[in-house]
Subunit: 399 residues, 2 copies
Amino acid sequence: MSPREASAAGTEAAQRRLLRPEIEGLGESLIRAVAEANIGRAGVIPLWFGEPDTPTPDFIKQAAVRALEANHVFYTQNRGIPPLREAIAGYAARLHHRPMGAERITVTASGMSAIMLTAQAIVAPGDNVVAVGPIWPNCVETVHVMGGETRIVALEAADGGGWRLDLDRLFDACDERTVAVMVNSPSNPTGWVMSADDQRALLERCRQRGIYVVADEVYVRLAFDLPRAPSFLDIAEPDDRLVAINSFSKSWSMTGWRLGWLTHAAELGEPFAKLNEYNLASATTFVQHAGIAAVEQGDGFIESLVERYRRNRDLVVQRLGAMRRVRLPRPDGAFYAFFAVEGMTDSLGFARELIETAGVGLAPGRAFGEAGEGRLRLCFAAEPDTLSEALDRLEPRLD
Amino acid sequence: MSPREASAAGTEAAQRRLLRPEIEGLGESLIRAVAEANIGRAGVIPLWFGEPDTPTPDFIKQAAVRALEANHVFYTQNRGIPPLREAIAGYAARLHHRPMGAERITVTASGMSAIMLTAQAIVAPGDNVVAVGPIWPNCVETVHVMGGETRIVALEAADGGGWRLDLDRLFDACDERTVAVMVNSPSNPTGWVMSADDQRALLERCRQRGIYVVADEVYVRLAFDLPRAPSFLDIAEPDDRLVAINSFSKSWSMTGWRLGWLTHAAELGEPFAKLNEYNLASATTFVQHAGIAAVEQGDGFIESLVERYRRNRDLVVQRLGAMRRVRLPRPDGAFYAFFAVEGMTDSLGFARELIETAGVGLAPGRAFGEAGEGRLRLCFAAEPDTLSEALDRLEPRLD
């Protein structure tokens, strides 16, 4: 009997679902919906992903090559090779001016994987996660994969053009099934940077209720008006219910390498080891060795990166901001312009149209939740000439 | 208020669980429980993992270096770069003598990740997966992470020393909440190879009931008495509910690289793309490029590998089999000896003891389910001299 005949026979086979309902209904990344078919397409300037257009610095690539030559090609400890965990702990201690031990560090195969492992650890079906929006869709969808619900509390437009978080609204959205509040600061897509005072208040309120803070801090080094963005790791106690997500992708321009880490209470080390084992064993071995070079020798690179992105931010704010249909709050961190376009109500359609008519690839605002509709996200981690060309091409459509 | 004070105050905080109950209760890999603290330990011959002791061949390492030099360090398509998917489809078509299109191939960041994505796609809380045991613990634990239940139907000792699968018992274990039957052939840990007839019968019965076959075929090339092991991909229709798991780790000696793939009905391509996106975006970019070299130029390497493992198998069967406390069914595939030790009832304790007293690292049989207790697993993907030395060291304890 063929599969089709079995199904048509009205037998038990016909009754069974193909996929879990949560997966049938899983949202597609609308960034991917725009970009995926056009990756590498000639004539299109791709500013859709959160990714620099310059490659990983040589000293990191060379460390990977050396590790390959030294045959670092075997399985490693689930939580990462000890010297990388030590190097990350040392880096974090320097960055946050607090003691940090490797027992609180778990290496993951990307910040994305770190978010998924966190969802697997704490989100049961029927639980909910309250998140500050607009937010990168993947943060939300991991919760849905685990059968949880998400509640987005959107940033509000502040007087003077920036964004403002209403902590009371955030807390009103929490209930007895809330397992975590998720915050991404500096924010993808808005460029909003949470203040240290707000972080302190949020942590205290979550602590009182036993709710996790899941802090996606992958852009923590990319702040333009401060030495770096405030971090929950500056203020948290070692045993707080805080899971901080970090990644090598943004600070060290290593998007395609798939390397990140979790910072957590020591007692979560064992469960995260198991979850790494059952999700992918560990990150790629020679990539882990390259990660040591990144955290130990990367500070100068990051400084030059921030300087470059700051100039790009200024360029984009000046030029995009001057276009008549555009309203753009100045981003304080990360590397995105998240701008409203007057009269545009279908950001997905408009983003697709811009690929065809302007040869510029942007992410649709709708990808970041309902609060993002009417907007587009432009990643300005690009060469200035490329950015200028993209802005030239966009101008006729936005001015 | 400190975290401890908040908790002690008997407030809401004290009531909240730290982790999902499924994760609190998640089994630790007992292979890792033996090995993890002893990775790299001097004086110990490590035969605990399913991993060769020889590095990845140079032509694959060189392909990775070239890809790094060519700056293949950016994000890729979720399902993998098109040339790798095409190369894998071509490889599969050659191997299985059947047409295979890239629309049925999804690249994953390891066979492990492929298994987890499959569990995420089909296992809802309360569902069950029936698996042929003894089985690699990770296959089982992914189901538990997703809130599902596993039912292990153990192979039976066959007359003449091998293993036998009772298909009726396997089917009797299925009920209306069974979403998949999971088979790993050639089997880790037993070395059992499922016959083509049994595969045909299993597929037909699953088809009639709409149950998935999840076929972990990572050892398909490693069969010692046949050109290769029978595969469900030899007989399945393109739209069958079959998910085949594959990996670069075993056939191409790429364990630390984290690269694998899924073969599935075309209609699962979209859900698997989303799950890759929300789990880790995609496999490491330059590793994907190295994967092309592996599948396109690796046949000679695999032949020499099988030849080497066959000799090792014969050596281990001869020497271990001759030890008086040992009973060892001859493995027909994969690269493990899964042997019973007379009078040994605590395989975890005994495996730990052997590290200290004999300087040999083995995996405890208990790691592979209850049916594995009383046994140990020795990985014979090692240099013959190393194996001989390990057998010399084991002999006083086993003879």
